[in-house]
Amino acid sequence: MDEGKLSRWPMIAITVLRVAVGWHFLYEGIAKLSSPSWSAAGYLKQARGPFAELFKWLANNPNQLANADLITMWGLTAVGVLLILGLFTRLASLGAIGFILLFYLCNPPFVGYFYSIPTEGSYLIVNKNLVELCALLVILVTGSGTFAGLDRIVHGLIRRR
């Protein structure tokens, strides 16, 4: 939706939020790409929660695991770059939400589940992953890329008179 936009300062704030989230994703992606032997296997093997079996199956299946690793590494990087630049923001936001949902479900802090990955802080259902996911929802629906991002240029270029 292009009409009924928020006023300027809220949009600037949301742009800052978008760049921050993008930066985080980009760093996660590049850190994995540059680490010599990163694999999601360790993380997946520690999976808990209702989908634990699926994640563990993924960890034990070398072909699927390799695909998952590639998608994760490059996906995080791509999403990060796009969010920072504000290009294809909606698509990038959806992708980011997808990633976070997977990470969250792999280790959900539901009451009664026992952690094997030691985490900092104390969480009850809502942890940092979930907060970041909500932030991406805000970014998704407010079209910050078209306010201050390459989307604005792209929209301008393709807009029909």
Partner: protein, 476 residues
């Protein structure tokens, strides 16, 4: 323009710079977040460089021997202690084993040569050390781990042949031998380090330099106690099929295979447990006090073992007197080979605190502050000692506090950890000095003072009375 980031773009107006339908504002706003990417790239680069530098520093220590000047060494004495030293030396970069010399050619010599070959050394094997000194042209240093009664001749000949020498303790089983070694080192100008390896142990160095000399944590040390208790074990034997023929044994000063394996127990060859074990710790007494003893009395005997095969004392209890600038000190030492209770340690007791230290990395060093002593907080903050682990206050079962028992003092530790085999720092110190990059932590003159103090004990046991030292006794 202040306003609402409207998406309703006006068609390009005349005079409006921009691309086609885009106004300049559009372009600027559109590109506004691109610099964030540049900032990311810069930050990433910085972090990458830092991590790379850290990794390089970590990789630089072992394995990367490229810049280290290689030292050609020979091992003289491939028995139990020689093998311990070899295990350490194989973890030190920049050493090239040129020769291994041992009279037990069938067993120990062959084993060590094979081990060195696995590590890509090609040492020549010798039985006669003089042949080795003649034939090995490219030898910088010799590491000696032969029986004590051979130390003097081996060390002196190696020094005179122009080699630096690392010689196991005790320097010699007799003072004349030790004196000859000091003289030879002085005359030839070559390095002679004696294997009191605690002198290079980082924890001992820390305790001596930081805790005793700088912080004076213990206050005035008045008494010391130390021991090495070793559990009962059978005499050392040898595989039947590798026995050394008698003529060769006799040629090298052994009457039979049993004496060859158990030389430490025989007069004229070794000095018994007080020399084998005690020399390490009595050396620490003198080092930490910064003084030599003024007298010694000792009681001992062959209480348990067969005197026919154990000519030296299997049990010894010793009391040294020291005169230090702070005042007189009495130091007790005990060794036995029938029971291993409490193992080995040295205990330094001062009016303000106690230091309980052992070479064993599992035990480490423990410090206790006397409750009436000044607080140790500054030293804890500086990391010299750890924060105390508070001792639990014992529950009194009777209602009355027993005034004879004092409250247990807080226990501090030292956070220095040695990650290498025990002899490695001392060997490293020797090789660093050979390369001109350090100073020996236990040169011959210093070790001589220990030897004087240690070798007197057997005399004192025999004399059954207190023997005095004169200051000249310790100097050559």
């Amino acid at each position: 323009m202040a306003g609402d980031g409207e998406q309703d773009k006006k068609p390009a107006q005349a005079g409006n710079k921009g691309l086609g339908r885009l106004s300049r504002r559009d372009v600027l706003a559109g590109l506004s977040t691109v610099p964030a990417l540049g900032l990311f790239g810069y930050a990433w680069n910085q972090q990458h460089k830092y991590q790379q530098a850290k990794a390089d520093a970590a990789a630089a220590s072992p394995g990367a021997a490229a810049n280290v000047q290689e030292i050609n060494i020979a091992l003289l004495g491939a028995g139990a202690q020689g093998q311990v030293l070899t295990d350490s030396m194989l973890r030190i970069p920049g050493l090239r084993f040129r020769a291994v010399c041992d009279v037990w050619t069938e067993y120990n010599q062959k084993r060590v040569v094979n081990q060195l070959k696995k590590f890509n050394h090609s040492p020549n094997a010798y039985e006669d050390y003089r042949e080795m000194l003649d034939k090995e042209k490219e030898l910088d240093a010799v590491v000696i781990a032969t029986p004590d009664f051979w130390h003097s001749r081996h060390a002196v000949d190696c020094l005179k042949a122009g080699k630096h020498v690392y010689c196991e303790k005790e320097m010699s089983n007799r003072l004349e031998g030790a004196r000859a070694m000091v003289a030879a080192a002085r005359d030839t100008g070559k390095l002679l380090q004696i294997g009191h390896q605690r002198r290079s142990n980082p924890r001992y160095l820390h305790c001596y330099e930081k805790l005793l000399r700088e912080a004076k944590l213990l206050g005035r040390v008045v008494t010391i106690s130390g021991q090495w208790n070793r559990a009962l074990a059978p005499d050392l034997g040898a595989p039947d099929r590798y026995k050394i023929p008698e003529p060769r044994l006799k040629q090298y000063g052994f009457k039979d295979m049993h004496q060859f394996r158990n030389w430490r127990w025989y007069r004229g060859l070794g000095g018994g447990p007080i020399v084998d074990l005690g020399s390490h710790q009595i050396d620490i007494y003198g080092w930490f006090l910064g003084a030599n003893p003024t007298g010694v009395m000792a009681s001992g005997g062959t209480l348990y073992h067969d005197p026919a095969t154990h000519e030296w004392y299997d049990t010894a209890m010793v009391v040294y007197d020291f005169d230090t600038p702070a005042g007189p000190v009495k130091a007790f030492y005990q060794t036995q080979t029938t029971n291993g209770s409490q193992g080995y340690f040295e205990n330094f007791m001062g009016d303000q605190g106690t230091l309980l230290i052992s070479e064993s990395e599992v035990y480490g060093a423990k410090l206790y502050r006397d409750p009436n002593a000044p607080a140790w907080d500054t030293w804890v903050q500086q990391g010299y000692i750890t924060a105390p682990k508070l001792q639990e206050i014992k529950e009194k079962t009777e209602g009355v506090t027993d005034v004879r028992e004092s409250v247990s003092p807080d226990e501090h530790k030292v956070s220095i950890v040695l990650r290498d085999p025990y002899h490695q720092p001392h060997l490293q110190n020797f090789f660093d000095t050979v390369r001109g990059k350090g100073k020996l932590n236990c040169p011959a003159e210093v070790a001589y003072e220990s030897a004087v103090a240690v070798l007197k004990v057997n005399e004192a046991i025999e004399a059954k009375s207190r023997l005095a030292f004169r200051p000249e006794d310790f100097r050559i």
